[in-house]
């Protein structure tokens, strides 16, 4: 890779109570590319995004964005840095008391002193980009899941950020919406020169747009590489995940006593 790095994650440790979620994760995310972070459910992918966004503080290790250590910044500097980041939440997280238009205008109104007409132009541009210019009067409750996510995407790019974090953008979408989102993420990345981090477990969609892929499991990076060479990696956990095999190193069965003994109730459990 010849590109300069935009986000660097160094030796990240994080635990929640007793449970260790990250045990020394390291990643290099290049500028202007789409980097995917994949892994089975419950491996802390969303937690990783929150660590990158500075909402959670790691037990050890650093996250550098454009050379700045996110967790060493003051609250004010952190909020300034976040203006350069957009984040697309799993649920969309639109403000339910504001209309679609106002939702997209929100970051502009808060962070800029632009006149009303210019805000209108910018908002319509962003809504046009996600194809929902006609829905600007609607309230978030009136939108379908896919539309809500597209509005959230328009809001995430409202301030023309350098970095966009996507948290499970494809989850719970019908194939049409998935296709639309895949196209949008790719197009926006190319058109705006964004650096994108996509967290997902939808293999097909993610691999089709990612330039580079990290697979995490058990609190560590299990494999990384371009989508083409990821498949041939010989780690069984990665193979199981990429091929979607039901049983493997990640077991199909939740930890349980022997089936035969349990059926006959030899251990006297209810």
């Amino acid at each position: 890779m010849t590109d300069s790095l935009f986000v660097e994650v160094e030796n990240l440790h994080f635990s929640r109570g007793e449970k260790v979620i990250f045990d020394g994760v390291a990643m290099q995310i290049p500028r202007g590319r789409i980097t995917a972070i994949m892994g089975p459910s419950g491996t802390g992918k969303t937690t990783l995004l929150k660590l990158i966004g500075g909402q959670l503080v790691p037990d050890a290790g650093r996250v550098l964005i454009a050379g700045q250590d996110v967790h060493a910044l003051s609250r004010k500097a952190l909020f300034t840095l976040r203006r350069r980041m957009g984040m697309l939440f799993q649920s969309g997280a639109l403000f339910s008391d504001l209309s679609v238009f106002e939702n997209v205008a929100f970051p502009l109104r808060v962070h800029t002193d632009l006149p009303q007409t210019m805000i209108r132009d910018l908002v319509l541009m962003k809504l046009q980009a996600v194809g929902l210019r006609g829905a600007r009067e609607l309230m978030p409750a009136e939108l379908s899941g896919g539309m809500a996510r597209r509005v959230a995407l328009a809001r995430a790019i409202a301030l023309d950020p350098d970095l966009v974090l996507y948290d499970e953008p494809f989850v719970g979408q019908d194939p049409i919406s998935k296709g639309v989102l895949v196209q949008l993420i790719k197009k926006l990345n190319e058109a705006l020169g964004l650096t994108s981090i996509v967290v997902s477990h939808d293999i097909q969609e993610t691999l089709s747009i990612a330039d580079y892929v990290y697979v995490i499991a058990d609190g560590q990076v299990m494999a990384h590489g371009t989508p083409e060479n990821l498949d041939i990696d010989d780690d069984p956990r990665v193979t199981q995940f990429v091929h979607g095999e039901p049983d493997g190193p990640v077991p199909f069965h939740y930890q349980a006593p022997d089936y035969f003994r349990d059926i006959l109730n030899l251990e006297g459990r209810p």
Binding site: K50, G53, Q55, F79, T80, R82, R83, M85, G86, M87, F89, Q90, S91, A93, L94, F95, S96, F106, P107, R109, V110, H111, A152, R155
Partner: protein
């Protein structure tokens, strides 16, 4: 045995920690210069917690004033002192019933709604996304609600008192036939603006702060699931009712108990 003591200690530490969080939360969200936008957000919350609570508070005030007059009359008439009805109605309302009952109604009507609203915003990641956009939800979401509650409840308490006193007038004078002049003059002779109205307002301000604080904190601090929201809403009503009644005793002892 040792296990039980340890659990008790753990529980004590948890309570202290929650109190600390709540205190920090109050300071972080209430300190700061309000912006133009902030004023408008405050106005919107005033509408929500103040104007929309007006009906229930005023109707309750009317009935409580009427009941007070009815009960007071039957007792006072035995001593031939029904002229003192106005005094009795006004003092019991101003010193005690208005601040307390209005605060309890406010906790049920507005407090629980504040908790549920903020809790739902947390559950749908609206607060997190606000933070990611670079806006502090404490300032944008919590502060206007806190200040609106702090202003609205004393106003509602005043309304409660006024309506209650006129309710007492309706029953005492119009129905039971207490002489109108003595209803008002016994009231005016015994009610002191600073000592009675003023202390009632101080009580109401304290209750307003405590109830709103509990409501927004419970909303902000809850576990973002549907069960968590319902539990937090219940907690808001229970904690604020207990806090209001407990604080009422302390404040009454300080104001009217004769320690000075």
């Amino acid at each position: 045995m040792i296990g039980r003591v340890m659990r008790l200690g753990q529980r004590g530490c948890d309570v202290l920690e929650a109190l600390g969080r709540a205190g920090l939360f109050l300071v972080q969200s209430s300190v700061g210069i309000p912006s133009r936008e902030g004023c408008y957000l405050w106005l919107r919350q005033m509408h929500f917690v103040g104007v929309l609570s007006l009906a229930i508070v005023l109707v309750s005030g009317l009935f409580i004033g009427m009941v007070l007059a009815l009960q007071g009359y039957t007792i006072l008439v035995d001593f031939g002192a029904e002229q003192a009805l106005g005094q009795m109605v006004a003092l019991s309302l101003l010193r005690e019933l208005s601040p307390v009952v209005a605060a309890l109604l406010f906790a049920g009507r507005a407090g629980s709604a504040l908790t549920a609203e903020i809790g739902l915003m947390k559950a749908t990641e609206q607060l997190t996304s606000m933070e990611m956009i670079g806006v502090d939800p404490l300032r944008r979401v919590v502060a206007p609600r806190l200040w609106a509650g702090f202003v609205a409840l004393p106003m509602l308490t005043v309304g409660f008192s006024v309506v209650g006193i006129y309710g007492g007038y309706l029953v005492g004078v119009e129905w039971l036939g207490v002489f109108e002049g003595s209803y008002w003059s016994s009231m005016q002779a015994s009610v002191d603006f600073i000592a009675d109205v003023g202390n009632g307002m101080v009580k109401s301000l304290v209750f307003a702060l405590v109830v709103t604080w509990i409501a927004v904190f419970q909303g902000y601090d809850l576990v973002p699931t549907s069960e968590g929201i319902s539990r937090a809403t219940t907690r808001t009503v229970v904690y604020s009712s207990l806090a209001v009644l407990g604080l009422d005793f302390v404040l009454t002892a300080l104001m009217f108990g004769g320690f000075s």
